[in-house]
């Protein structure tokens, strides 16, 4: 589904990603772990198409198409979803209005007719139930006055509504208490299907107790320095990042 080859990216001449190679297939969950400043967020931003980072080389192919040729919204229409580490506020726009706009723009791009409002509302109710979201939430303004946990849950709710093929969860666990973490992780698990894939970017192992990955990659100084199964995450938690960097040297 996703093939990243020798991806190099940076900001104003500072190279942050120094040749990333990664392959993700449908049905898989990949975890990317690494210390602060290793390039985790740069990688997710590069896949989503943020203009904050300059792509200096490499290819990101998604279902045979080079994502680097597409605008961020086109990537979204193809089924790429990014759950933001810091979701932004959009004052005056309700959650339901925002999601309605997202869905209608996507359907327009796919040359589908608009979705009937009744179908949309029904879908929203189902997904709210799935994520234990209380009534009244839909009419709140996007992330305005949301707690950290509510913001992250709102990201997962949008993911549920947009049904992406590839979801990237950027530090979704940061700022969440254990209950919120469990709810968010449960949601992600319930949304897991054979034909979609998830990349979980995280600092700590604890999220991976709830979202169990098929593969774990360690990102260090802009490169994936080690890959393995879920046991790698546990080992990393026990021994720290120093262990791997020493091992490599």
């Amino acid at each position: 589904m996703l093939k990243i080859k020798n991806l190099k990216a940076g900001v104003e001449g500072n190279q942050i990603l120094k040749g990333i190679n990664l392959e993700v297939n449908a049905g898989e969950i990949h975890a990317i772990m690494g210390p602060n400043g290793s390039g985790k967020s740069t990688l997710s931003a590069a896949i989503a198409g943020s203009e904050e980072y300059e792509i200096e080389g490499g290819v990101i192919s998604f279902e045979g198409e080079n994502l680097l040729d597409l605008d961020p919204e086109e990537r979204a229409h193809k089924g790429v979803f990014l759950s933001f580490q810091y979701p932004v506020e959009i004052p005056g726009i309700s959650v339901s209005n925002f999601i309605k706009t997202c869905i209608s723009e996507k359907r327009k791009a796919q040359e589908l007719g608009p979705m009937a409002t009744s179908d949309l509302l029904k879908m929203m109710r189902e997904k709210m139930e799935l994520l234990n979201i209380k009534a009244g939430y839909l009419s709140r303004n996007m992330n305005e006055g949301f707690s950290g946990g509510e913001k992250k849950r709102n990201e997962i709710f949008q993911m549920a509504m947009l049904e992406p093929k590839l979801a990237i969860l950027d530090e979704t666990d940061s700022g969440l208490d254990i209950d919120a973490l469990r709810i968010v992780a449960n949601g992600v698990n319930k949304l897991r299907r054979k034909d979609n894939a998830t990349i979980v970017i995280t600092h700590y192992q604890r999220l991976l107790d709830y979202i169990v990955p098929d593969f774990v990659h360690v990102l260090y100084d802009g490169k994936i320095i080690k890959s393995g199964g879920k046991e790698l995450a546990l080992e990393l938690e026990k021994k720290g990042y120093d262990w791997i960097t020493k091992e490599i040297k």
Binding site: G49, A76, I93
Partner: protein
Amino acid sequence: MGEKKKESEEKLLEKVTSTEYKYGFTTDIESEKIQKGLSEDVIKTISKKKNEPLWMLEYRLKAYKIWLKMDEPEWANISYKKPKYQDIIYYSAPKQKPVLDSLDDLDPEMKKTFDKLGISIDEQNRLANVAVDIVMDSVSVATSFKKTLAEKGIIFCSISEAIQNHPELVRKYISTVVPIRDNYFSALNSAVFSDGSFCYIPKGVKCPMELSTYFRINEAGTGQFERTLLIADEGSQVSYLEGCTAPMRDENQLHAAVVELIALDNADIKYSTVQNWYPGDKNGNGGVFNFVTKRGVCHKNAKISWTQVETGSAVTWKYPSCILKGDNSIGEFFSVAVTNNLQQADTGTKMVHLGENTKSTIIAKGISAGKSEGNYRGLVRIAKGAAKSRNFSQCDSLLMGDKCGSHTFPYIEVKNNSSKVEHEATTSKIGEDQIFYCNQRGIGTEAAIALIVNGYCKDVLNQLPMEFAVEAQKLLEISLEGSVG
């Protein structure tokens, strides 16, 4: 900033400046005009053509004499080439049967014009339950729903008709809120006003429908001087809508309207405007000069609420105001003012608190794009006798790109110490992070800006009646097409 980003901004900027005014066309209807310029003779001719009583002619001539002694104001933060007042044609009426029995009798050419504007009269009548009184150039051409209104004793007609049929009401109230000598443009309007709307709601009557007027400047070089007089008698209620679009013209067109509202004891007036006159091209050629005086007076326990969405005109000079004369009266002002390209706007409100325990609220949202200048100018005056009065003002500015400007000029005068005045102001830019967030969810940059702007204006748009809110939202999108975040 990446190369790609720069490139896309340039592309967007180019698109902004190349977006043409969508309503620029003229209707081929024969007009009846008089010679250009202003003199006592011209005023006499206007008055005669309109078959006016002597008191009206005298009123006009008095205003003309006052106007001659006045100077055009220069204090606003706008710059423009002053109109040549002797080159303006002060009267123009479409040549056709002046009184219509129904909208079906409308000139087909004129009907086409309204269709192009997206104002389907039939549909409006049928779906929206709106009585429409259309002013094309200067004479009312169609009036509807008169019967329903008449049954309740409501008078809704052109001001010319009111002068003929209800002279006692017009004489009693005209210029009581906006005196002739109030300002240069009110004096000019009083001398030459051609037509406009008149509305009277009797005691205790709640107007059963939104009253609506569409204004449109059509004849080349024709100034338009509407006069609107709205009286809500004791305990009555009315909501009035005014929407404006004008066709494209090369020379600047002057528009100097006067609107007077009178809310007697316990009455409630809601006055909404959507203004989309031709703003001029990207180089600042053409466009309407919109110099308007709008003011209302509130008697005891009365309420006046102004809502405006201003997207058009090359130059706007407009301050819908409330005089809170009666105790416990309420004034409100909700405004969205958009400027793009080289547009200039100096707009705001005046809240004059005279009665005790009076309240006013001001919510003003400015949006500046391109190389435009947006100004908020507002006065809150609380007189000595206006004990325990309150005002809350919120003025927000949103800037798009780095070539536009926005200024806020709040004037606050409080003459007693039992009153409370609050003023909040913010200036913001649409964040790149907001746009990227929308992009990532599949919303393109143009649509993202429209969405963010709509959210920003929500408090004001919510004040508009439903069918108007939709139109206003479309207008915001058109006005800001291609604007950079």
